[in-house]
């Protein structure tokens, strides 16, 4: 398997996703999965399209900001949009961890022959503890949400299909919701956020 990730990092949301997607790279290394890491300034349209054209990439994970029609890389550069690059995913599986991209972009990617697509049809929302900004992986309030979305990447790296990875993530969301619904648990403010992201997550295969 050859995995390609984009990891822009220029504001708080991308700063967090940069580190949390780094855990997926760690997993790929542990499993001996080859990967291409388009991080920071490398998360641009030219490099993404070039790698997808020239390399036998199987699985793509895009992290960044999004809209119903597009996904951005570093400094909010649009790296993939409706009518511009959606034909580069033929027989490939793609997970877009960005707002709204499941609404229109994901459908066009599938119409152009992708193997599977996972994304969100609403804004992807997560909490961040200001005291953890320098160590996002130690942020215990962001972790429940980001662990659930990371599960998609972990399952894909294990070789599971888009449908299976989506289901694994939903199971993790359900467990997190059960945990924070317990009367013994603090931080129940996480529940609406977990439910929101869980129900906004879509899979096309």
């Amino acid at each position: 398997m050859l995995l390609l990730l984009t990891r822009p990092r220029y504001d708080t949301p991308t700063h967090y996703l940069f580190y949390w997607a780094g855990l997926l790279i760690d997993e790929a290394k542990r499993r001996g999965v080859n990967f291409i890491d388009l991080n920071k300034s490398k998360a641009n349209k030219k490099q993404l399209h070039s790698y997808l054209t020239k390399q036998p990439v199987d699985t793509v994970i895009l992290n960044g900001h999004g809209s119903p029609e597009a996904v951005a890389g570093e400094k909010n550069e649009v790296i993939l949009s409706v009518g511009n690059g959606t034909d580069l995913f033929k027989k490939r599986t793609i997970f877009v961890r960005a707002c709204d991209a499941g609404a229109i972009l994901g459908k066009e990617i599938m119409e152009n022959g992708a193997k599977g697509f996972i994304g969100y049809i609403q804004p992807f929302i997560f909490p961040a503890d200001r005291d953890c900004f320098n160590e996002p992986l130690k942020d215990e309030l962001a972790a429940p949400v980001l662990e659930c979305s990371n599960q998609i990447g972990l399952s894909l790296i294990k070789g599971k299909s888009a449908t299976e990875a989506h289901k694994d993530s939903l199971v993790k969301y359900a467990k997190a919701i059960d945990k924070y619904s317990s009367s013994a648990t603090v931080n129940s403010f996480l529940l609406p956020i977990l439910l929101w992201n869980m129900t906004s997550q879509v899979c096309y295969q």
Binding site: D11, T12, P13, P123, F124, I125, A128, F189, L195
Partner: protein, 84 residues
Amino acid sequence: MEEKNSEQKNSEDTINLVIARLKTIPSNVELSVGNEGSFSVEELIEKVKKQDDIGKKMIEMQLAYLRSLSKLPTQDLQNAPAAN
């Protein structure tokens, strides 16, 4: 006219409910809401009051959660946590 007043009151009740729920979020927490950026609880409350796009998403998110509670079996509701 009465119906219109009732709608306005419901809307105000909803906003107050959402604000009360947002106040359960610790003050050291920001919510990252996609392209729009990260917002403190105080900023989110202002957005809910203004009912701008982010404010409407917060209302939608909280109401979706509250509606989901009505689908739970009674025993689950009894175990549901009080606000922090």
